[in-house]
């Protein structure tokens, strides 16, 4: 969920400007103007310190303590070293959840990228009105708040009165009469994937489409004259130009899908049979349902570390990009 036109501008290769690589100046002494950037980022730093770093540090500290219900209420938690991490990492459950989270992320991100690429490639080939209609439809999807969307999907897949079961039975799949989707782990997982993909495609598709419109048409024409097929054009012209944009979208989707929580919690609370327990849900369960705040914090810390590991190449590239600019 992010604005359409921002991303392409953010990633489009920017011309080197005098501002970006200023001419060498003679070394100078401290000037008050040097304080400017620090003043400008001060509110961000203050907010981050209070609302992110402080809770994060607190959470990490808790993960090294024995911190359960009594400690939350009375205080006075004792440090236990790496005991909580040992307990989490030593259990089979954690690794099952990690594997499930990676599968969850991969399935969603692949589907989102694939579908949104196809939609983005389809859009410019449509007539003007059809294109507007499809884009408006996607904007509508995009504007649907998560909580409303989960409520809608629960209603669509409701066992007795849900329209999906009615449709399937009408199409001749009689086994779906009163089928309880949310009783089975795999079908619940599938519905959650459908929900997340449904909600995520508009952003990715519209962003990619906006990127596509920046590709000069001459490139396509010359490729076509050379006799390239549609797939070859995509591989040798479209994709290389849009590669940074794909990188950005995939990274953002990985982040969003990996830490997706509200949809899962609202629909299945991680069940049935833990089939939809991903890492954020797992951490929440341990902390909030079982009151093992210490283990929950350990899982949270590990979650962040895993996410950073998954995205390390992305982070590196971003930073390198910054390095070239600065």
């Amino acid at each position: 969920m992010s604005p359409v036109p921002a991303a392409p501008q953010a990633t489009r290769p920017r011309p080197r400007t005098p501002e970006a690589t200023p001419p060498p100046r003679p070394p100078r002494r401290f000037r008050p103007a040097d304080l400017w950037p620090y003043l400008l980022i001060a509110p961000t730093l203050a907010g981050t310190a209070y609302l992110l770093v402080y809770p994060l540090v607190r959470s990490v500290v808790i993960s090294f303590q024995h911190f359960r219900l009594g400690e939350l209420i009375r205080g006075g938690a004792a440090f236990v070293g790496f005991d909580n991490y040992a307990e989490v990492l030593g259990g089979a459950e954690f690794w099952t959840v990690v594997r499930r989270t990676l599968v969850w992320t991969a399935v969603n991100v692949v589907l989102i990228t694939l579908i949104s690429t196809l939609v983005a490639l389809m859009l410019p080939r449509l007539g003007r009105w059809m294109r507007l209609a499809v884009m408006s439809g996607m904007v509508l999807t995009w504007a649907t708040p998560v909580l409303a969307a989960t409520t809608i999907f629960q209603w669509l897949f409701q066992s007795r009165l849900g329209v999906v079961n009615w449709l399937l039975v009408t199409l001749g799949f009689d086994s779906f009469k009163d089928y309880t989707w949310f009783a089975d782990g795999n079908s619940t997982f599938a519905i959650l994937v459908a929900l997340v993909v449904w909600q995520s495609v508009p952003f990715a598709a519209l962003t990619l489409y906006a990127g596509l419109t920046t590709v000069p048409t001459e490139l396509y024409e010359s490729a076509r004259i050379d006799g390239a097929s549609g797939w070859q054009i995509f591989r040798s012209v479209t994709f290389p130009i849009l590669r940074p944009l794909f990188g950005l979208i995939v990274s953002l989707e990985v982040i969003w899908v990996f830490k997706c929580f509200a949809q899962i919690w609202a629909i299945s609370k991680g069940g049935p049979d833990e089939a939809t327990t991903t890492l954020p849900v797992y951490a929440f369960q341990i902390a909030q349902s079982l009151h093992k705040y210490d283990l929950g914090s350990a899982v949270s810390t590990l979650t962040v570390l895993i996410l950073i590991a998954v995205l390390i190449t992305h982070l590196r590239r971003m930073l390198k990009h910054e390095g070239e600019q600065a």
Binding site: A10, G47, P55, V119, L123, M130, V134, M138, L140, V304
Partner: protein
Amino acid sequence: MRPRRVLLNLAALGVLAVSVFPVYWMVLTAFKPTTDILSETPTFWPAHPTLEHFTTAVGTPGFWTFWGNSLSITVGAVLLALVVALLAAFAVARMRWRGRRAFILMVFIAQMAPWEALLVSMYIVARDTGMLDKLSMLTLIYFMTTLPFTIVTLRGFIAAIPPELEEAAQMDGCSRTAAFRRVVLPLLAPGLMSTSLFGFITAWNEFAFANALIIKNQADRTLPVWLSSFSNVFGTDWGATMAAATLFMLPVLAIFLVLQRRVTSGLIAGAVKG
């Protein structure tokens, strides 16, 4: 060439149907009388539209209070994030200073923060700083959850505006801030709008913190918390639940309609041309 056209348009219709149907179904259910909702064969058109479900939803105690709470903290968080992010984005996009890369790294990592996992420690932080049971704490948290993304996006927008424009203005005798205001800010308008859209949706939606940090002051509950308790109480009443979801979606849709047109107008213009 012909069959390809047909195929393409069929695919487009498919995408359109999948995008629109769930939302259409929600609105439709909200307007259907209960007997139609409970019928074994669904109807796909409101034959007998009724407002009874909306009356039920709006009639629940405190609805307007929760509505107001959600609106005020959402707008507060979005404005705060815009102002703070604009300052930081400008510093990152246009100035060179020691620690700039570290700052950017911090913003990227902040974007990955698994917020729900910080619920307990956020509770403790709020309690220890006397911010429990306060709407202002929710405003601050929503501000923080949208801030990193807003900085990254606005920075992209600022960087895309050629600095020469500003320099030209400065040569015409404007101060740096005046140049920013007269030249950069108008060009930034679409960026500001689209990031506020993102912030608005995120804050409007948030449930976990609103549920955990508002404890005793029940009049300070927000719309998502109301929606979730609504579906507990009216779980069987799909009409009322869908009406509630529709009412919940309405402001987001309104903001989208107001802002999105201006945001995408350039996009669509480009699309028509290309």
